[in-house]
Structures are given as C-alpha cells and as structure tokens.
C-alpha cells in the first residue's frame, strides 16, 4: 500500500470528511456562521452550500429529532456563549432521559492559540470539555487524523467536540491511498504512536505533536530516542497506550498548548499514578504546557507563552536527568 503523493492541508480533509458524510447520510447537515456568501470564515466550509443547498447547509439552528447536525464554531472561544447548550443540552440529555433521547451532534472548529489574536481568541478548551461525562472530545493533528476522526465523529451517535487548529489548516501532509477512500475512518478513543522509541514517552495532541516530532529528531542525534504518542482523542483517553509505552521507557513527558492547571497533562499524570505504569517510572512525569497567563498580543510575548521546541527538548532532558 503506497503513499500517494497527495498533499492536503487539514482543512481539505475536514472538508472532504463533511462532503462525504453529507453525501452518505441525508440526516447529516451543517450549521455554521458565515457559511454561504462568506464561504465560511476560514474557508473550511467553502463550496458546501453551493453543492448541498439551504436544506443541508445553513446558518439556522435546526434541532429537530432524527437529524445529525454538524455545528461549526468560528473558534471555540465563541463556544462559551453556547456552552450551556453543549453541556446541559447535549452532553447530559441521554443520561437524564435514561436512554430515550440520544444527541448525535458534532461541534467542530478551531481551538487554541493562533497568531496574534490576543487573549479572548486564543484559549484551548480541551480540558474544559474533556472534564464532562457525556461528551467525546477529539483533537486531530494531521490531515489523516482530521479526515478519519471527523468521519467517525459524524457517524458517532453521541455529542462530539472536535477541536481543530487554525494554524494547521494550511499545513500540507501526505495522505495515504487508504485515507482517501470514502470509508476511511479512524476510531475515536485510540491514540497513535507516531514515532517509536525506548528512552522516553512523549504524549501530545493537536499541533504540538509536530513540535514533539521535531524535538525527537533533534534528540535522536544525541542518542535519545523518544516515543511520540499522538493522543487523537482526549476523552475517552487511551490511557492503555500511554501505560504500555511508559512501562517500556520508564519516563513520561506530556506536551499541550493549554494552561497547566487541571489540564490534559494533569489528567495523564493522575491516571498514570492510578495504574500499573506508576511502578515503572524512574522520574516524576513532566508536563510541558502553555504559560499560566492570558495570551498577550505582542509577538515576543506570544512566542514565549506557548511551548517551543526548545522547551520540549529541555524538559525531556531534565526528565531523563541528562
């Protein structure tokens, strides 16, 4: 099975995932701000309105039973204005109705830091949403992730928060032939080992997976082999994959863009301590995170508010005590 030399950016696989699922299942429809004449603010939904029309693509909220909406937030920062609905109407309804009313909805859009958009537009919501039972929270890194996971999210019968990344929309990735099929899905709840290694487990999600791989390439020259795990799903988290890796490497570093307190890395630390991998740790787990401040605007300040590759390298070395 060869790799077709087709480079797609994250927003193209997001587009094709939606296009394929709209075609496959007539109950699927898309709700998004500025979708029609503005072509979707970040162009992710461009052309879908022209192809499927007002009945399937609209800016109007349709919550009729039996339909499978995809709801786009221009960014997840704006989801806070609707967060009561995401949690209290979407996440909890199946439970409160004792199994009577499922909510097969996908909330998708860009999450986390961008470039120069300042405090109110740069927050990562992974920890906020992953805190809540009843939601599935997915965070793709590359094009294959984006396509396969979004298709799974649309086919999923429960509410899914799908956290994309604006800075990844323009990054090209090769896509395998398999991933270009209309039936290509990636299961929710399963992490992927992007790079095997024996010395340290590095767990990340979304854009920073790329940073971890870059750090691993630098460290490999010094004889340090990192095992880089791409979480792909935040909730339910694939703790088993992390444990299996830690039991091999004895060292763990988590890397995320969000704030440290009560975050994804904090959850990983707690879960590792509660399970069999704890006894295999030769050092405490290190969390690499965003700086614990609102995002500043000035470039020099912004650059120093998010993990850089050198921070990851530094943290890995400190964890390994080298």
């Amino acid at each position: 099975m060869g790799l077709i030399e087709t480079e797609l950016t994250e927003s193209d696989p997001v587009w094709s995932a939606m296009d394929e699922e709209l075609e496959r299942d007539e109950r699927v429809f898309l709700m998004v701000e500025e979708v029609a004449q503005y072509d979707g603010a970040l162009q992710v939904s461009r052309g879908l309105w022209k192809k499927y029309g007002d009945k399937r693509i609209s800016t109007l909220p349709f919550l009729r039973a039996g339909l499978r909406p995809i709801c786009e937030f221009m960014t997840f920062n704006f989801s806070m204005q609707a967060i009561d609905q995401v949690i209290n109407s979407a996440a909890k309804t199946y439970y409160m109705s004792a199994g009577l009313q499922p909510v097969p909805i996908v909330f998708r859009g860009p999450n986390g830091a961008s470039a120069g958009v300042a405090a109110q537009h740069s927050q990562c919501f992974a920890a906020w949403y992953a805190h809540c039972p009843g939601l599935k929270v997915v965070s793709p890194w590359n094009s294959e992730d984006a396509k396969g996971l979004l298709k799974s999210a649309i086919r999923e019968d429960n509410p899914v928060v799908f956290l994309e990344n604006e800075l990844m929309y323009g990054v090209p990735f090769e896509m395998s032939e398999e991933s270009q099929s209309k039936d290509f899905t990636i299961p929710i709840g399963k992490a992927k080992v992007e790079r095997p290694g024996d010395h340290v487990t590095v767990v990340s999600h979304s854009r920073l997976v790329g940073h971890c791989l870059d750090a691993a390439a630098v460290l490999a020259k010094e004889g340090i082999e990192c095992e880089v795990i791409n979480l792909r799903t935040i909730r339910p988290m694939d703790v088993e994959s992390i444990e299996a890796s830690v039991m091999k490497t004895n060292h763990l570093v988590t890397v995320e863009g969000g704030w440290p307190q009560f975050g994804v890395g904090a959850e990983i630390c707690a879960r590792i301590m509660e399970g069999p991998a704890f006894n295999y740790l030769d050092a405490p787990v290190t969390r690499v995170t965003g700086v614990d401040i609102p995002m500043p605007y000035a470039k020099i300040l912004e650059d120093h508010s998010v993990p850089q590759i050198k921070d990851i390298i530094f943290s890995i070395k400190k964890t390994l005590n080298v």
Partner: protein, 373 residues
C-alpha cells in the same frame, strides 16, 4: 477634545452657520432631535481634524498590516468616523463608553493618542496596553475597550451605567454594538435590566449593513434596530452626518441625565473596508455600492463641503490640516515601527490587581516566572 486651532485669524470667515440635518425616526418618543443645527467654525475645524486623523490612522494601519508589521486581527473604522466624533461631541470625557472590536476610532476620541494606538497595533511597549492587548483590547480612562466577543460588551456597558447611577455623579454610559450583535440574547437581557432599573445608558447600534459577510436582511427578522429595544425609546440617525449624530446624542444624553432611563440610537453608517483585514469585503457586497457611499455620503467630504460652501474655512486651511494630520500619522507610524517590543520580564504581570507578587508557571516546571500587579 483638545485640538490646536490655527493661530491666524480669518476675520472674513463665517463664525457659525445653521445646517439642516436629516430628521431622525423615533420610537416611543414624543419629541425628536432638532433638524436645524448650529455649528461654529471652531467646531467644524475640530470635527474635520478629528475625523481626518481617524481616517488617516486607519489607512496607515491597513498599510502596516499589508506589510505584516501589524498582525492578528485588525478591524478598521474608515467610513464610520462621524459616529465616534458626533457622539463624543455631545458627551463629556467624564462620561463612559464601551464598544466592540472596531475600536481604534473610539480609543482616539476617548483620549488615546495616535502614537500609542499605532504602537499597540504593532505590539510595542509604547502601546496603549503596553503591547499586551492588540487591536481589539485598547483601554483608557472611562473607555472600557475594545471587546473581542460579539455582544459581550453590552451587559458590561449597562453595568457601568448602574455604577454611575449608584454613585450619583450624573454620568452616563454610551454602550455600542453592531447590527450583527443586535440579534444576540444578551442584548435583550440588557435592555430589560436597563429599562427596569432606569439606567443612564445610551445604547448605540452602529448599523453598517453587514455583520461580517451577512447583510442585515439575511440576519434579522426586523432591521428596525432602533425599535428592537421595544419598551426603550429609540432614534434612527444618519450616521454619516457628524452633525446629525451630534444632535441625536445631545437629545439622548439629556434623556438619560434627566433620569428617564435608557435610550437606543441606531446610527446608519458604512465601513469601506471589509469586516477585518482578512476580508476583502467584496464577496458579499459590490464595489459599486462601496463607491456610491464614498462619493455620496462620505462623512469627511460632507463636512468639508458644508464648511466651504458656507465660507467657514478655506481650501488652503483644510489642506493645511491634512498636511498636519499626515505628519502626525507618519510620526506615529515611525514610532510604532521602531519602538521596542515589551520586555519579557513583563510577560506575567497584570494578572491580579492589588495582589502580592506571585509565581507563575512557565512552559515547564523549571520555569518559574514572576507576576506583579
């Protein structure tokens, strides 16, 4: 609003003149703002200079953005100058004002300098928010931003008005939002509370016909934004005419200060640029439409024509103001591009007010940063 007026006396210029402005549509009001308004030569020159400064400042920001010296979000105000200048002409600096993200003009009319506004856009230490806020988060005394989340500033504005009333200082709050935000639930919650408690707030809907790329017809069941406050009296105002805005604001301010409670002004205005610098602004409206507004309704041209045809200023005099404004903008841009970026030591400051210094976690556990109030 302070301004330097030419020291030369032109004894043969008209000291003041009366102008006819469009009648405002009213909602739940027995009276309306005057349609015959007086403007003095000094006022005219001041409005001209202020609007021209705002116009040139925004165009310079456009240029700097295209040169990638300004980054991130940049929502420009050119075309809407008459709104900011007209409002400020009828309130005091001791009153309060809050708006959304198209805020550079208001930052200026509320007392910010062009230099510190531009340096904020370029993210430098001399910026009005020390480089930490950027385009959408500029503040100064009695000006509460600069708010990035659509509509969120409206409940805040009512809160400021509540404080004014509570403290009994006869101050009011001008609370602005756009035609896009006008459909938000929190706006209606705010209307209810403001009316119930008779808060001294002037709600101002700057209707520039488009919420991002959605025209008002496609967004609102009722485009009579001045009536949307239902039980709140409303005015629909020609937002391209600085005198009409001034007169309406005078009327609205009197309404508030006399204890009658809130009032709503819809300013019909227009933005020449797209929603932001990443929007060319022509996929949802025609170039012809933009050109027509520019040629028939430009606020600066309208004022200039009025002054010239009533012998209130000379062409040379206005040209001189243009030259001075251009220089001020150039100097500010020069400062904004050469001022250094904020120092890294200040990264974590200003998290809490009146708080002892605290430690802030950096990107990893060995990075211990300091935050002072």
């Amino acid at each position: 609003m302070q301004t330097v007026i030419s020291a030369r006396t032109y004894a043969d210029f008209t000291a003041q003149a009366t102008f006819e402005v469009k009648k405002c549509d009213t909602h739940k009001l027995d009276e309306a703002p005057a349609t015959e308004v007086v403007m003095t030569r000094e006022e005219g020159l001041q409005y001209y200079r202020t609007m021209q400064t705002m116009r040139r400042m925004e165009l310079k920001a456009d240029q700097l953005y295209k040169q990638k010296i300004i980054r991130g979000f940049c929502h420009l105000y050119d075309g809407q100058e008459a709104c900011a200048v007209g409002i400020e002409a009828s309130i005091n600096l001791s009153d309060h004002l809050i708006t959304a993200y198209r805020a550079h003009g208001y930052t200026y009319t509320r007392g910010g300098t062009v230099k510190e506004i531009m340096a904020e856009l370029t993210g430098r230490r001399g910026g009005i928010a020390k480089g930490k806020g950027g385009s959408m988060h500029m503040y100064c005394k009695n000006f509460y931003g600069g708010n990035g989340i659509v509509g969120a500033q409206v409940p805040l504005g009512a809160g400021v008005a509540l404080a004014c009333k509570h403290q009994g200082r006869n101050e009011l709050c001008v609370c602005l939002y756009g035609d896009g935000a006008a459909n938000q639930g929190q706006i209606f919650e705010t209307y209810n509370m403001a009316a119930l408690w008779k808060l001294p707030v002037i709600f101002v809907c700057e209707n520039n016909r488009y919420g991002m790329g959605t025209s008002v017809e496609r967004a609102a069941a009722s485009t009579d934004y001045y009536k949307r406050g239902e039980f709140i009296p409303g005015l629909r105002v020609d937002g391209m005419d600085v005198l009409c805005v001034r007169e309406a604001t005078r009327f609205a301010a009197e309404h508030c200060r006399s204890g009658k409670g809130p009032i709503l002004m819809e300013l019909q205005t227009y933005r020449y640029h797209g929603h932001s610098m990443s929007d060319p602004g022509v996929s949802y409206r025609t170039r012809e439409e933009i050109q027509e507004v520019r040629s028939k309704s430009d606020p600066i041209s309208m004022l200039k024509d009025r002054m010239l045809s009533n012998n209130m200023a000379s062409v040379e005099e206005l040209k001189e103001i243009d030259v001075e404004v251009r220089k001020e903008i150039e100097d500010a841009a020069q400062f904004a591009t050469t001022d250094p970026e904020p120092p890294l030591e200040e990264l974590c400051n200003h998290i809490f007010y009146n708080n002892p210094p605290l430690d802030v976690r950096g990107t990893h556990p060995w990075s211990k940063l300091k935050s002072v109030s």
